[in-house]
């Protein structure tokens, strides 16, 4: 066990953790932020995606020690008022069914939109193929990402 500090959603969390512990479990069990989900533990499903210094990472296979000194953003910190364009588009189109995978879906989509503000279907496929949705909301995810891109454009222009 080691004393470490994680910066999650702009807040410092002093924690005592096994440095080998995946970031996922440190976020969930030690920092108590439950929005980031466990799905497979082997980087296959994307339910655990968080941003580490702005990059989308699979927190289930990222050692907590790797996040020390970096900025971690989870679904709870993507926006203060559930108002990131991706969140708004997800609400507008009612993307989630059970909703369990969507923290990860939204975090992956947010990075895509930052990198490619006007993504093609192919860009969406490339960026989102790592996120599984068992309820099968994929067509809505695609539609919502296009809508979020439009919303983002309007915000940046207006």
């Amino acid at each position: 066990m080691a004393k470490i500090t994680l910066n999650i959603n702009k807040k410092d969390y002093p924690l005592e953790a096994d440095p080998q512990m995946p970031l996922l479990w440190a976020i969930r069990d030690l920092a108590g932020l439950k929005g980031t989900k466990y799905g497979c533990g082997v980087a296959q499903c994307g339910a655990c995606v968080v941003h580490l210094d702005g990059e989308a990472v699979r927190s289930c296979v990222t050692k907590v020690s790797r996040a020390v000194g970096k900025k971690v953003v989870t679904i709870e910190g993507l926006s203060e008022t559930n108002s990131h364009p991706v969140q708004k588009a997800w609400q507008e189109i009612d993307v989630p069914q059970c909703g369990y995978c969507h923290s990860g879906q939204i975090m992956s989509a947010a990075v895509l939109l930052r990198e490619k503000p006007d993504p093609t279907d192919q860009d969406i496929d490339d960026a989102m193929a790592g996120n599984i949705c068992r309820c099968g909301t994929y067509l809505r995810i695609r539609k919502a990402i296009h809508l979020a891109a439009e919303m983002q454009k309007k915000t940046s222009q207006g």
Binding site: K37, G39, I75, E76, P96, C101, I132, R134, T137, Y138
Partner: protein, 718 residues
């Protein structure tokens, strides 16, 4: 909106209701099929508590209990949308709370069989209208006017001639003293303001910012975390274990043998309880366990299907339905079709792996989890652990998918046993590997279909199925056919096919099986609807025209008309890759048309899926569409990717690295149409699934001439 579960006793506290409350609920007398509406003041006469279903407090706040689990299918939206309609309140004024397991108060709470809406909407409409009428009466009395001059709208009662109005909150005290009217007039479909509209789901905002509490997110003070290494052979025991290395892992506190119920047998494992999920999982990995696997067969997939095929050739089975002389006609026929279809075992693969929080204390047990069947959990654990039923409190969280697997008692039972052992609250977390390999699974089933056509119609049809009966696991009788032997097959066929036999050959293995989305319709549908296509071809008829001729049912003819219209069925050219199938599931009928074409890099690709859903009365068309979209995607995985394979009695694939899932790159365009009629509500969550696979394989036959009779198959390898 709040996302919370609660125990009965602290309902008033957690719901934040103020002052007097108008509370109406149902009372389910004995095993009665219909509920009585009970008013708070009368409730004690029935020996039930008052705080059921719908409450309005003096601030006008409306709280309703959602009696069903929310696992993506939309009960969290549908139930309030129904209540708001007849109660005449705005949807955003309703606070939804998941009801704890209690069948005396909420009736059947098992979320299965696509029954949330179809099983309760009539009562919900009546209950809400009753509350509205009492509020109108209270207002009319206060004003001293005729009730007929008053109406309700947007949480107010309005006196039409004068324009005077009362907020509901101002009326609840007076209304709560009134007797509930025996009869109320419900709105006509044409008068609905909310029902039938594609309103947004109330739970969506909770699911876009991480605030929805799923089972795995539940945390209570002093809670420990546990992971369990269970016998990989599904029914085995623990012979011995070595926990030396486990105990060296920081945070590990307890290691012990644990036993949980799997229907009427038991499964054993070794529990590792720790301060974090990670430590528990590490501790589990470090265990060395010797298993006792005596007393049952260690089967391979190949052996299971070999036995099913043999049984179909050598046994007649139990008659589920028999009319005319099918066997005689088939035996004498100059030409008959006799083919076998095989369907695989399936894993539910909900994104939220199984988990459960339990807190055992001297006099009671409280459970929180992603639970589809709270009342079954309550019953089962009460019996297994000898705790009075009323002291077993089962709270439902949001479910990260269920698909049938979470309507089962093993994981809450195991968590309860562990909590009792450590004398502390605990959350048991199943790893993905546990979830994927432990079952119960959808049974894999083989069908033998024999048929004869003459004069363009079916002269005789005989279908035999050999596969595990889920009821056997629950102690069901083994000398009667599976009650789902023909599930999925449209009932009107039974009127037009004069010589018909539907047979079930009892078949057992040690593999635990249970419901999976759309249950037996998901396998039956493939066999029946593929075979109908083969018979249509033999009869020289168009596949949809062939079905229409055998279905003497106006509602089904309308469905077929719609399928033809939306898919351009009549304009298609022969061999263009069109296929169709129609199945019935949980009182809804769904027709699929699939179009395929040759893929540039080999194999076939799906160009388009059209689905026509006839679910009768429905609440929210967008929810219906979402459920059908999801059903097609799940059906696609089941048809083209998924099979739980067994080797030496164990499930082989343990994670998504080998049990591949459909991804965003695999999804064809899906166009959904809903039939509009006044028929009773049918199911929505499952019926869209069964017809997809046969429509797809029928389309592939149309394109390539290749008949696919075993699922799953690879689109790329066709």
């Amino acid at each position: 909106m709040e996302n919370q579960t609660l125990s009965r006793r602290n309902f008033l506290k957690t719901s934040g209701m103020t002052g007097a409350v108008l509370s109406l609920g149902f009372y389910w007398p004995g095993n009665a099929k219909s509920a009585k509406i009970v008013h708070a003041a009368e409730a004690k006469n029935f020996g039930v508590e008052m705080n059921s279903w719908v409450h309005i407090d003096t601030s006008g706040k409306v709280t309703i209990f959602d009696h069903r689990a929310e696992m993506g299918q939309g009960s969290y939206q549908a139930v309030p949308q129904i209540v708001a309609e007849e109660l005449e309140v705005n949807l955003n004024e309703i606070n939804v709370v998941f009801a704890p397991g209690d069948n005396k108060k909420y009736g059947n709470q098992v979320t299965g069989g696509s029954s949330t809406v179809r099983g309760s909407y009539k009562n919900l409409l009546k209950l809400s209208a009753t509350a509205r009428e009492m509020l109108i009466q209270a207002a009319a009395t206060k004003w001293g006017v005729d009730k007929a001059e008053c109406y309700a709208e947007g949480g107010h009662v309005i006196h039409k001639p004068s324009g005077k109005r009362f907020h509901y909150g101002e009326l609840v005290e007076a209304a709560s003293r009134l007797e509930a009217p025996k009869e109320v007039v419900l709105k006509k479909r044409s008068e609905y303001k909310l029902i039938g509209k594609p309103l947004r789901r109330l739970d969506t905002p909770l699911k876009t910012n991480g605030s929805a509490v799923f089972g795995l997110d539940k945390q209570i003070p002093g809670m420990m975390y546990a992971a369990v290494e269970r016998n990989p052979r599904l029914r085995g025991k623990v012979k011995s274990f070595d926990d030396t290395k486990t105990r060296q892992i920081p945070g590990v506190k307890h290691v012990f043998k644990v036993k949980m119920g799997v229907f009427n047998t038991y499964r054993e494992g070794v529990a590792v309880v720790a301060e974090s999920t990670w430590a528990a999982i590490q501790g589990k990995k470090a265990l060395k366990v010797e298993w006792d696997d005596t007393g049952f067969e260690h089967l391979d997939t190949e052996e299971i299907y070999k036995r099913q095929r043999e049984a179909l050739q050598t046994q007649e089975g139990l008659a589920f339905k028999k009319q005319g002389e099918p066997s005689e006609i088939i035996a004498k026929a100059a030409k008959k079709i006799d083919v076998t279809y095989e369907t695989p075992y399936q894993y539910h693969a909900a994104m939220e792996p199984l988990n459960c929080v339990a807190h055992y204390q001297d006099d009671k047990l409280e459970i929180w989890g992603p639970i589809q069947a709270p009342e079954w959990v309550q019953d089962y654990i009460s019996k297994e652990m000898s705790i009075p039923k009323e002291k077993v409190i089962v709270n439902m969280t949001f479910l990260g998918g269920g698909f049938g697997r979470k309507a089962f008692m093993d994981y809450p039972h195991e968590a309860s046993v562990i909590s009792k052992e450590i004398k502390a609250p605990v959350q048991v977390v199943w790893t993905r590997e546990d979830d994927a390999t432990q079952g119960p699974f959808r049974p894999g089933i083989t069908y033998r279909c024999e048929g004869v056509v003459s004069n363009g119609a079916i002269d005789a049809l005989k279908v035999k199925m050999a596969g595990q009966n889920n009821d056997h696991w629950r102690g069901g009788k083994k000398d009667t056919p599976n009650r789902s032997t023909s599930e999925g097959f449209l009932k009107p066929y039974m009127d037009s096919i004069k010589n018909l036999a539907i047979m079930d050959i009892p078949f057992e293995t040690p593999i635990p099986t249970m419901w999976w989305r759309s249950v037996y319709a998901s396998t039956n549908g493939f066999a029946y609807e593929s075979f109908l296509d083969e018979l249509a071809l033999e009869a020289g008829k168009d596949p949809l025209e062939f079905r229409r001729a055998h279905l003497k049912d106006e509602r089904l003819h309308k469905l077929i008309d719609k399928m033809e219209e939306v898919s351009g069925w009549r304009e298609r050219r022969k061999g263009e890759g069109f296929g169709t199938a129609i199945t019935e599931c949980f009182a809804s009928t769904v027709g699929h048309v699939v179009k395929v074409s040759k893929a540039t890099n080999g194999g076939v690709k799906i160009d388009q899926v059209w689905v026509v859903m006839d679910c009768g009365w429905y609440v929210n068309p967008d929810t219906v569409r979402a459920q059908v979209e999801g059903s097609v995607v799940m059906g696609l995985g089941a048809a083209t990717i998924h099979e739980v394979k067994f080797k030496d009695g164990m499930a082989v694939d343990s994670n998504f690295s080998t049990y591949q899932m459909p991804r965003i790159t695999d999804i064809p365009p899906i166009e959904i149409h809903i039939m509009e009629n006044d028929a009773d509500a049918g199911g929505v969550g499952e019926p869209g699934l069964p017809a997809f696979a046969p429509a797809l394989t029928n389309a592939i036959f149309d394109l390539t001439g290749k008949r696919i009779r075993r699922l799953p198959f690879s689109l790329a390898a066709v």
